[in-house]
C-alpha cells in the first residue's frame, strides 16, 4: 500500500486519501478553443505531475508533485504556491 508523505502527520497509506487529480488552473478570458482544451485535455504522458490529495481523517487537502512512472512522491507543494485570485466578484448587488 503506497505511503503518502504528509508534511505534518508523516507518511500515511493511500487508503486514507481520495485522489483529487491533476492540478489545473482555468485560463481567465480564454477563447472557446483554449477553454475547451483546458476543460478536457490532461497531461496524460508519464512524468512529474502536480496533484491534489484529500486526507479523509483530517479533511485536509494536500498538493504533491509525483513521478507517475515510478509512483514516487517527489515533493509537497504548499498551497500558497498555486493559489490564484478569483476574478473580482462585483459587490453584492
Amino acid at each position: 500500500m503506497k505511503l503518502i508523505p504528509l508534511p505534518d502527520l508523516g507518511p500515511r497509506p493511500r487508503s486514507e486519501f481520495d485522489y483529487g487529480g491533476e492540478l489545473r488552473r482555468p485560463p481567465m478570458g480564454a477563447d472557446t478553443a483554449l477553454w475547451a482544451a483546458y476543460v478536457f485535455n490532461r497531461q496524460g504522458a508519464p512524468g512529474l505531475l502536480r496533484e491534489w490529495w484529500y486526507h479523509r481523517p483530517t479533511g485536509a487537502w494536500y498538493l504533491f508533485e509525483r513521478d507517475t512512472l515510478a509512483d514516487r512522491f517527489i515533493r509537497h507543494i504548499p498551497v500558497q504556491d498555486i493559489q490564484y485570485e478569483l476574478p473580482s466578484a462585483d459587490p453584492a448587488v
Binding site: M1, S15, E22, A36, F40, N41, G44, P46, T68, D71
Partner: protein
C-alpha cells in the same frame, strides 16, 4: 477427434508454419507504420492487407505481440452499451468476433456464455432498463431480468450478497461472450504476416517526424523509417506517442488490475458483472476464475499490482459466491487503461496529416479489437473517418460534444 489432430499423429515431424516472422531488419520505407503490436494493431494490419491490399506495412511493437492490454484484460465481448453510436460500434465488433475462428482457421475459444450486469439499487435498475431499451432498438439481445432469471442461470450465486445491498435484478445480454485474448492477437498477426505484412517486436518508437503538419516517418530503437501514414494503436502508451506529434488529448492512464484463481472444474458458465460492487468474474476454459474490478483510484503508468485490490475483490466475490473462499488466487497482474472523460474511445484522423489515432480504450478495448482494426484500416486508406467511428473523433471535445456513454456512469466491463 478432429482430423487436424490426426494429421499431427500421422507425420510426427510435420512442423507447423510460423505464426510470426523471424526478426528481420527494418526497411527504409513503408506505406504505413502501425505503432503497437497488440490486438488492435495486428487487426488493422490484417484488414489493410485483406480488405485493401495494402501490405507494405510495418507493425512495430516495443515488447512482445499482445503483451500490452491485449494480454491483460477481462476477455469479455459484449455490445450492451448505452448510446446508439456505442451500441452499433460494439455490435459490429461482436459480429466480426463470431466469424474470427473461421477467418483465421484458429480456435480463439469464442464462447457465448451470456452476460449479467447486476443491479443492487433502484438507480442501477433504471440504468439497466435504459441500456436494455437502447439495445433492443438496435436489434441487440438485451433485457432487464429479475432475481428468478439470475437464480435459474447461476443457482449458486447469493443474490442477497451476504445480506448487504442485495441484487434487485440485472441486465441480461445473451450474446455476451469470452474469448482467449492471446489467440485473437495471434490469429490477426498470422493472418497479416501470411499476407506480407512485416511485424517487428522489441522495436520501440522513439519519435515521429512531422514537418509542415504532415507525417514523414518514425524513429525507432532499431533505426529510422520513412512513411506518410502512421497509425497509433498503443492504448496505455497513447499519451507518450501523441506528445511526439505535439497533440494534446484528454487521455489519462489508470492501472486496471485483475487476478486468476487456480484452475478448477467448471461451475460458472455465465459472465457476472456487478455495477455497484465494481467487480466482475468469469471462468476461463482452463478453469481459472478471471476476476477484476474498476480502474485504480489514481493515475499511474505502471502495471504493478496492489494488495488492497485483491483484498477488496475477494471480499466482494465472497458476497456473490460464498463457497469460493477456499479457491486460491494464483496470480494477479495489471494493464494500463487509457481513460477518456466520456468513457468512449478517440479514433480516426487528427490535425496532423497522416497521423491516425486509435486510443481511449479504458476498460472496453478488447471487445472492440476486430471493428477498430477494420474501421482504422478503412480510415487510413481513405484518409477519412469511417462512419462508425465518426462519433469518436478527437475534435468532439473541442466542440463540447461528449459521447453519452458517460450518461450511465457506472463502470461496465
Amino acid at each position: 477427434m478432429p482430423w487436424r489432430l490426426l494429421k499431427f499423429a500421422l507425420n510426427p515431424n510435420h512442423s507447423e508454419p510460423r505464426f510470426f516472422p523471424p526478426e528481420t531488419p527494418l526497411k527504409e520505407r513503408y506505406d504505413m507504420v502501425i505503432i503497437g503490436g497488440g490486438g488492435h494493431g495486428l487487426a488493422c494490419a490484417y484488414y489493410l492487407a485483406r480488405e485493401h491490399g495494402v501490405t507494405n506495412v510495418a507493425v512495430l511493437e516495443q515488447g512482445y505481440l499482445g503483451g500490452g492490454n491485449t494480454g491483460r484484460n477481462t476477455t469479455i465481448v459484449r455490445s450492451n452499451y448505452l448510446t446508439p453510436e456505442g451500441v452499433q460500434f460494439y455490435d459490429a465488433s461482436l459480429k466480426l468476433f463470431e466469424d474470427l475462428a473461421e477467418d483465421f482457421d484458429l480456435n480463439i475459444f469464442y464462447s457465448n456464455r451470456g452476460h449479467y450486469t447486476l443491479a443492487h439499487t433502484d438507480s442501477a435498475m433504471r440504468t439497466m432498463r435504459w441500456r436494455a431499451e437502447v439495445n433492443k432498438h438496435f436489434g441487440i439481445d438485451s433485457e432487464v431480468v429479475d432475481r428468478s432469471h439470475i437464480a435459474a442461470n447461476v443457482p449458486d450465486m447469493d443474490l442477497d450478497c451476504g445480506g448487504d445491498a442485495p441484487v434487485l435484478g440485472a441486465l441480461w445480454h445473451a450474446p455476451g461472450a469470452v474469448a482467449r485474448h492471446d489467440a485473437v492477437a495471434w490469429g490477426y498477426g498470422r493472418g497479416a504476416y501470411q499476407r506480407g505484412v512485416e511485424i517487428h517486436q522489441k522495436t520501440r518508437v522513439t519519435g515521429i517526424k512531422v514537418d509542415d503538419g504532415k507525417v514523414r516517418g518514425v524513429s525507432t530503437s532499431r533505426g529510422d523509417i520513412a512513411c506518410d501514414k502512421v497509425i497509433s494503436m498503443v492504448a496505455g502508451s497513447s499519451p507518450r506517442i501523441t506528445s511526439m506529434v505535439g497533440l494534446e488529448t484528454p487521455i489519462e492512464i489508470y492501472p486496471l488490475q485483475a487476478c486468476v484463481t487456480e484452475p478448477v472444474k467448471p461451475f460458472l458458465d455465465t459472465i457476472i458483472v456487478s455495477g455497484s460492487l465494481h467487480a466482475y468474474v468469469s471462468q476461463s476454459s482452463r478453469g481459472e476464475l478471471v476476476m477484476g474490478a474498476s480502474v485504480d483510484p489514481n493515475v499511474l503508468h505502471s502495471t504493478r499490482s496492489s494488495f488492497d485490490f485483491v483484498e477488496e475483490l475477494a471480499d466482494k466475490m465472497l458476497d456473490l459466491f460464498p463457497f469460493t473462499g477456499r479457491l486460491r488466487v494464483m496470480r494477479q497482474w495489471a494493464g494500463m487503461s487509457d481513460i477518456t472523460p466520456d468513457f468512449a474511445p478517440i479514433m480516426g484522423k487528427t490535425p496532423i496529416e497522416g497521423f491516425y489515432l486509435d486510443a481511449g480504450w479504458g476498460t472496453w478495448g478488447f471487445k472492440a479489437t476486430p471493428i477498430s482494426g477494420k474501421t482504422m484500416a478503412w480510415t487510413a486508406v481513405n484518409d477519412r473517418n469511417h462512419e462508425l467511428i465518426e462519433p469518436f473523433r478527437l475534435e468532439r471535445f473541442a466542440d463540447f460534444v461528449q459521447v453519452g456513454e458517460r450518461g450511465a456512469a457506472s463502470v461496465g466491463h
